[in-house]
């Protein structure tokens, strides 16, 4: 799709595969993930959103940034999608499709699965 070196840690990039809009992200830890580039809520392009560490709350008023859970946050209403599973953090019944993503000869490859 495009050279792996073009996508740095924390970055988000839109792409298409067989006409399907996908969003490819590289987490701060360097992991690549690919998701359908459409929010299931109202169809916003998730590639226009933000890649962030998920926030957890072990108690009222206590905030902890997750060390390993990364979310892609919709630019419109702020829905959070776990880039690993595609599931909405608030409502795991709602999810974005995820795709296997690899690097071959320095180029990012997303499989339709």
């Amino acid at each position: 799709m495009f050279p792996s070196a073009e996508l740095g840690p924390g970055e988000v990039r839109e792409a298409t595969i067989d006409g399907i809009a996908v969003v490819v992200v590289r987490t701060a830890a360097g992991e690549l993930r690919a998701l359908r580039d459409i929010c299931p809520h109202q169809g916003a392009r998730l590639s226009k959103g933000r890649l962030e560490a998920a926030v957890d709350g072990p108690g009222v008023g206590v905030y902890e940034l997750s060390a390993d859970r990364v979310i892609l946050r919709c630019p419109w209403h702020g829905y959070e999608f776990d880039v690993e599973t595609g599931r909405c953090l608030a409502d795991p019944g709602s999810r974005v499709r995820t795709y296997p993503v690899t690097v071959e000869d320095g180029v990012i490859v997303v499989e339709r699965g």
Binding site: H41, A54, V55, D56, G57, P58, G59, V60, G61, V62, Y63, E64, H77, G78, Y79, E80, C88, L89, A90, D91, S94
Partner: protein, 365 residues
């Protein structure tokens, strides 16, 4: 006063579910605050006998222009007897008169609303609880009661819940629906924890102290139309401050709020939570799931809707286990416990609303 923790003499499970009615919103009251004198220390007695403290101030400006004022006309006793002030009146008018099998008492004495002087409020709450147990619960096995507390002294409130919450006929902790404080605030958590460890539910009910979003509107009809929103605000506070995440078995019962708002409330909170979850990450479930599992709602005053709309309402709520019948005895807008819902509902559904849902809600019923 020591509290007997034996089982109640009257077992709800012996009732016939086809005809049984558990009325979850009944208001007993005293003739005068002087009824509490035997249960108060001498220091506090002086404020009533000598210094002229005569009762909780009525904060709202309204009179109720109903046929019997704020009392259903046929429940107004003759002469100087105060409405709903004796077990005999309640037996005749409610238990026998309306076919109520079990009545849950909520009182008319909102000590958590006293704006200060929490020591006196706490003494009054304890006195009221002892008076309620002696003059009502222990005289009529079909009655169930409340622990009244002073919410702004949460540690003291928790001690009071532990003191009388073990009485076999005490089934709930009563909190008035105040509108200047938020019960979800961790400051109040000891009250909810004490309720949970005593197998009690927490019940919210508005009073004259309850403001609308516009304060006290110009007319009673405006105030009375708008106050259900206050309970929605308190429920929002409980949910987003994680009370039900911390106490997943706790039930909160909302009284005198009707029930047609429930789908809107679930949808609204879910929609907000999907986008703003990261502000309240200690909340681990959709708000509508907490509502379905942890919140129960008394029917009165129920909006007059068709059978079709009622069934659609339950479908939108996603639960037929949330509603529980209530009369609001002895107030002017009391509902009949058997004629308050649209005609033609199934026997199974009516048994749930009149009996089984309450049985499943109050651990000590």
């Amino acid at each position: 006063m020591s509290v007997d923790t034996q089982k109640p003499a009257f077992d709800v499970r012996d009732l016939d579910p086809k005809t049984a009615v558990i009325d979850v919103d009944v208001h007993e009251q005293f003739q005068s605050v002087k009824d509490l004198l035997p249960y108060l220390d001498q220091h506090w007695q002086r404020y009533i006998v000598q210094y002229g403290w005569s009762g909780m101030p009525k904060e709202s400006p309204y009179g109720v222009p109903s046929t019997g004022g704020n009392t259903r006309l046929d429940w107004r006793p003759e002469g100087s007897v105060v409405r709903a002030s004796t077990v005999e009146l309640m037996r005749e008018q409610l238990l026998e008169g309306e076919g109520v099998s079990i009545a849950i008492l909520n009182g008319m004495f909102h000590l958590s609303s006293l704006g200060g002087w929490y020591e006196f409020a706490a003494a009054l709450a304890s006195a009221y609880n002892d008076w309620q147990i002696e003059h009502w619960l222990e005289r009529e096995p079909r009655l169930r009661g409340s622990v009244h507390v002073t919410a702004n002294d949460p540690a003291g409130a928790a001690r009071e819940i532990d003191r009388v919450g073990g009485h076999p006929q005490v089934v709930q902790v009563f909190l008035p629906t105040v509108t200047d404080r938020q019960y979800g605030d961790p400051f109040y958590r000891p009250i909810f924890e004490a309720a949970a460890r005593n197998d009690l539910v927490v019940t919210l009910h508005h009073g004259s102290e309850t403001r609308t979003a516009l304060g006290y509107p110009r007319f009673f009809i405006e105030w009375h139309s708008a106050i259900p929103h206050a309970n929605m605000c308190q429920l929002t506070s409980l949910i987003f401050n994680g009370v039900f995440d911390a106490l997943p078995d706790l039930k909160v019962v909302v009284l005198e709020t009707g029930g047609t708002w429930i789908p809107h409330f679930m949808w609204r909170l879910d929609q907000q939570y999907r986008g703003l979850r990261l502000e309240v990450p200690w909340v681990k479930r959709l708000p509508s799931e907490h509502v379905r599992d942890n919140v129960r709602v008394a029917t009165q005053p129920f909006d007059e809707i068709s059978k079709t709309h009622f069934e659609q309402l339950l479908d939108m709520m996603g639960s037929d286990e949330m509603l529980m019948v209530s009369t609001d005895y002895p107030h002017f807008d009391a509902d009949s416990p058997t004629k308050n819902l649209p005609a033609g509902l199934s026997d199974d559904l009516l048994q749930k609303i009149r009996f089984r849902n309450a049985l499943a809600t109050y651990p000590k019923l």
